[in-house]
């Protein structure tokens, strides 16, 4: 019975940790996607560089948490995209800048989609 009790407690802990990681991922990707969309809507003469820097900072903070349960390769790809955004804003390469913002939003959506326990991911 002791073993069963430990197993049940462990099961609850595992499910809680899994659930929390999913919830946390949702929160972080939603926030980052909103920030990226706000950046997308800024005009070319707007504070693109400042906004990009904020986005990168926000991403770095989120990454510290995401490394615990997301494959690092996926996170590195997003880090790369975010870093490119800053450089593109600085050098005023706006067409590529906006396409990179779209890419970032797609990558963040992808991160969330791949974590869902739906039939596509399970199979």
């Amino acid at each position: 019975m002791k073993r069963l009790a430990i197993a049940v407690v462990l099961l609850v802990v595992l499910l809680s940790v899994s659930g929390y990681s999913l919830w946390s991922l949702r929160q972080l990707t939603t926030q980052l996607t909103q920030t990226a969309q706000q950046l997308r809507e800024l005009p070319t003469d707007g504070p693109l560089e400042e906004a990009s820097r904020d986005l990168v900072r926000q991403w770095e903070k989120a990454e510290d948490q995401l490394v615990l349960y997301v494959n690092h390769e996926k996170l590195e790809r997003i880090s790369q995209t975010a870093a490119e955004l800053l450089a593109l804003a600085q050098y005023e390469d706006y067409s590529i800048f906006y396409s990179k913002v779209d890419l970032l939003i797609t990558q963040l959506d992808g991160l969330w989609e791949e974590s869902l326990p739906n039939y596509r991911n399970l199979l």
Binding site: R3, L10, L68, V70
Partner: protein
Amino acid sequence: MLVVFFRTLILYCVIVFGVRLMGKRQLGELQPSELVVTILISNIATLPIEEIDTPLMVGLLPILSLVVFEIIISIINLHFREVRRVFSGTPVVVIHHGVVDQKKLRQLRYSADDLMAQLRSQNIYSLSEVDFALVETTGKLSVYQKYLSRPVTGEALSLQDQPSQNSPPLVLVSEGRVNEAYLELCCKDRKWLEQTIASHHLTLNQVFLLTLDQKGTVELIPREVKK
């Protein structure tokens, strides 16, 4: 490299904890579900060790989940025979009254060579010695020999029972450490132990092994002196 070292250490501790939690059955003969869990755990454990890009959680979560599933399944198996039949199968009789059931052997994909090999591993070299044999759910062959082929027992020779010979000697001291539980089992105390060791002109730390049987015979092996 230090990352790999610490990950290996963490996974090692978790796996040992998991195996201990699953119990002694896991270390003995394995049922099919137990074998599956053992293989899966060993394969999963290598992933976060080999690939540093993979979060440690990706290894720990499935390992602990498998441990939990195995415990729950084993408890369900204990209470429900039908479930046990699904997960572990049932033992199959392959020799009955000395006659080999070839159909059952074919169903088990057990060849004649496999059968003889299993018998030989139990020091049985002729089928004529076997009255009854069954293949357990672990794949092991359990054999009941014919009366005249069985090792001679005291009962067969009509010897008188000797209760003092029924229990094995117990280890009271092992490498200088006293086993309190066995000492209590033998109804002896520390004072008796110290006196016994002193009578051999030794101290507790100088004892490698000390056993006591039901007749009261003490067997003491002193520690070798390091040169």
